[in-house]
């Protein structure tokens, strides 16, 4: 059992507040992704869990044990670093065996575990090589194998795929997901890549400015962003936002359309819709197409609605040229509303 509980963890570097009182629970064997732009504090949080950074306040519990005062080696964790951190003076075998030797396991057990994890990561033919003789992707595999061989309660990954090229990243992503699902470890994975986060996570914590903005399953994060930031950060292209003025209780005027919305007291809200939740039809937003980008399966059309850019992902059969005027109907069940004051969902 390695449930991770983070209680009111805060961290400041001098006058800079990197983390504001974070509370979070990660269930045993869950794959949690910390997602956010660079500088949002996600790596700091990971390093606090690892014990490489001390929190300014708060508690970290792993598997029912308070660990925030313990050094990394006593926390039952293993970590995969962004730049791999494969020891250059040791062979791949010795790299993977490093932690096992520190645990003083018998040689037989070390051999067994090294060979098994090497096989799992498809590097069994590289065991005698040094890190200088490996490609970036191979080093990444060694780093993951080294962490897995420890059979840790918790495996922490700090942007492990960000130094790989696009194709390799895709391949490693799928492989990581498979390998980690098989292991008994709870995983925390830091990334700024939303696609990576969506595809790997059981649960995503979106972070911004040292706070957790939303903590939910990938689909929920995508469909029901809890805050305007999440809607604009997740999804490529991101959500469209249009200012909505109150007409009556529960009725809002959005770029010339009258829509049913929440019975909210504010005089204005923000209407939000994902680009793929728009269809062409009668009685929608009047949109002037500006840029048309055929992407194969879909066509991305950047239009202008109410003088603001507005993106729609439309069927690629549709013939649209720049300058065309379209009427775009939002799917009613996909419309979301945000309070412009609090920036939270209504």
């Amino acid at each position: 059992m390695a449930e991770i509980i983070i209680k009111q963890v805060a961290k400041s570097f001098g006058t800079f507040q990197a983390l504001h009182s974070i509370d979070m629970t990660i269930r045993d064997r869950e794959f949690m992704v910390l997602l956010g732009a660079s500088g949002c504090g996600k790596t700091t949080l990971l390093r606090i869990i690892a014990g490489l950074e001390t929190p300014s306040q708060g508690e970290v519990w792993i598997g029912g044990r308070r660990v925030d005062h313990l050094p990394p080696r006593e926390r039952g964790i293993a970590m995969v670093f962004q730049n791999y951190a494969v020891f250059p003076h040791l062979t791949v075998f010795e790299n993977i065996a490093f932690g096992l030797r520190m645990k003083k396991l018998p040689q037989q057990e070390i051999d067994k575990r090294v060979n098994r994890t090497a096989e799992l990561m498809h590097i069994e033919q590289l065991l005698k090589r040094y890190s200088g003789q490996l490609s970036g992707g191979q080093r990444q595999r060694v780093a993951v194998a080294r962490a897995l061989a420890m059979e840790p309660d918790v495996i922490l990954m700090d942007e492990p795929l960000s130094n790989l090229d696009a194709l390799l990243r895709l391949e490693m992503r799928a492989e990581l997901k498979g390998v980690l699902a098989e292991s008994k470890s709870t995983a925390i994975y830091v990334t700024h890549d939303q696609v990576e986060a969506m595809s790997l996570a059981d649960r995503i914590s979106v972070m911004n400015g040292g706070k957790i903005v939303q903590n939910a399953s990938p689909v929920e994060i995508y469909r029901d962003p809890a805050a305007r930031f999440v809607g604009s950060f997740i999804g490529n292209p991101p959500m469209n936002f249009i200012k909505a003025n109150r007409q009556d209780i529960g009725r809002w005027r959005v770029a010339g359309l009258d829509l049913y919305g929440p019975s909210h007291g504010a005089s204005s809200l923000e209407f939000a819709i994902r680009p793929e939740d728009l269809t062409i039809g009668e009685g929608g937003f009047i949109a002037t197409a500006r840029v048309v980008e055929p992407l194969g399966a879909h066509t991305l059309v950047t239009c202008e609605v109410d003088g603001k850019p507005f993106r729609a992902v439309l069927d690629s059969d549709l013939k649209v040229a720049p300058g065309d005027v379209l009427t775009l109907i939002p799917k009613p069940d996909r419309i979301r509303w945000f309070d412009p004051e609090t920036l939270l969902a209504v």
């Binding site: 690892a50 014990g51 670093f81 951190a85 490093f98």
Partner: protein, 282 residues
């Protein structure tokens, strides 16, 4: 424009580049001659017979006569002085790495108040001329009983070698990514184990180089050695004292005995000394 002097013809880029090359080559040759000619003369005269050394005309070529060398080596006191030099240099080496490497590690890994000042002050120890310090030092050493001992002299030499030890090890440690240490910590090491198992093997060649450099500084140092020792003279101090009154060929042999080890050592560690000065060719 018509106001330009008519003789100021534009020149091809190749011309100026060629001129630059000449300046570069001349400067290089002069610099090399400045260093190499005295060393060459030293060798020639050491390997010539005494009569050739003081005779005229010179051939400029060594006759490979080892009489001066043999005489020098059998000269009373040389062997002892040589031994003293080695002892002091080894002590200096151990002390300056023992003190300098932790300082270099701290400078590279930790942020602490006064870090920049500390770096300046470390180099500042070389700003005070040794003659200025020699007399108070000698008085102090006599009081505490360190005068005329290898350890006392090694202390002074350590002060001279320390700035280099700190700066070289600082650049060595800075070349090791902190993530390697952090990875070792997460894999079950404490700070010391991570240092021994991961950092040490990686910096060892550089550390040896910086140790050898400290050795050379002590080996070559003459002023403090001459002032602070009487009975237990190091080779430099011994030669300064006795060669003044020796025949010319002996002076050459003594000079060579001093230069050769230093040259070999510096040549062996040149790569790391370059690295220290930021002209890294690693």
């Amino acid at each position: 424009m018509s106001t330009l002097a008519p003789t100021d013809e534009p020149r091809a880029v190749g011309d100026t580049r060629r001129a630059g090359r000449w300046v570069f080559i001349t400067a290089t040759v002069m610099l090399m001659a400045w260093v190499l000619v005295p060393i060459y003369l030293l060798f020639v005269n050491t390997l010539s017979s005494p009569s050739e050394v003081s005779g005229f005309p010179k051939t400029g070529l060594p006759s490979f006569d080892f009489a001066s060398v043999e005489f020098f080596l059998s000269f009373s006191g040389v062997a002892r002085a040589l031994w003293n030099s080695v002892v002091v240099a080894v002590l200096t080496m151990v002390l300056s790495i023992g003190i300098g490497a932790p300082a270099g590690y701290a400078l590279s890994r930790f942020d602490f108040p006064g870090k920049e000042v500390f770096r300046m002050v470390v180099v500042m120890t070389r700003a005070f001329p040794l003659p200025l310090l020699a007399l108070p030092l000698a008085v102090m050493f006599i009081r505490v009983g360190l005068d005329d001992t290898a350890l006392g002299l090694a202390f002074v030499h350590t002060v001279l070698a320390l700035p280099f030890a700190v700066l070289i090890t600082f650049s060595l440690f800075s070349g090791i990514p902190i993530e390697l240490e952090e990875a070792a910590w997460t894999l079950g090491c404490n700070r010391l184990q991570a240092f021994i198992k991961v950092v040490m093997p990686l910096i060892l060649p550089g550390l040896v180089a910086s140790a050898v450099f400290a050795f050379t500084i002590s080996w070559n140092e003459v002023f403090a050695a001459a002032v602070l020792t009487i009975e237990n003279r190091t080779l430099t101090a011994f030669l300064v004292q006795s060669l003044n009154v020796s025949p010319l060929h002996l002076k050459f042999a003594g000079g060579t005995a001093l230069v050769v080890p230093a040259l070999i050592f510096i040549f062996a560690v040149r790569k790391y000394l370059f690295a220290m000065w930021g002209i890294a060719n690693r």
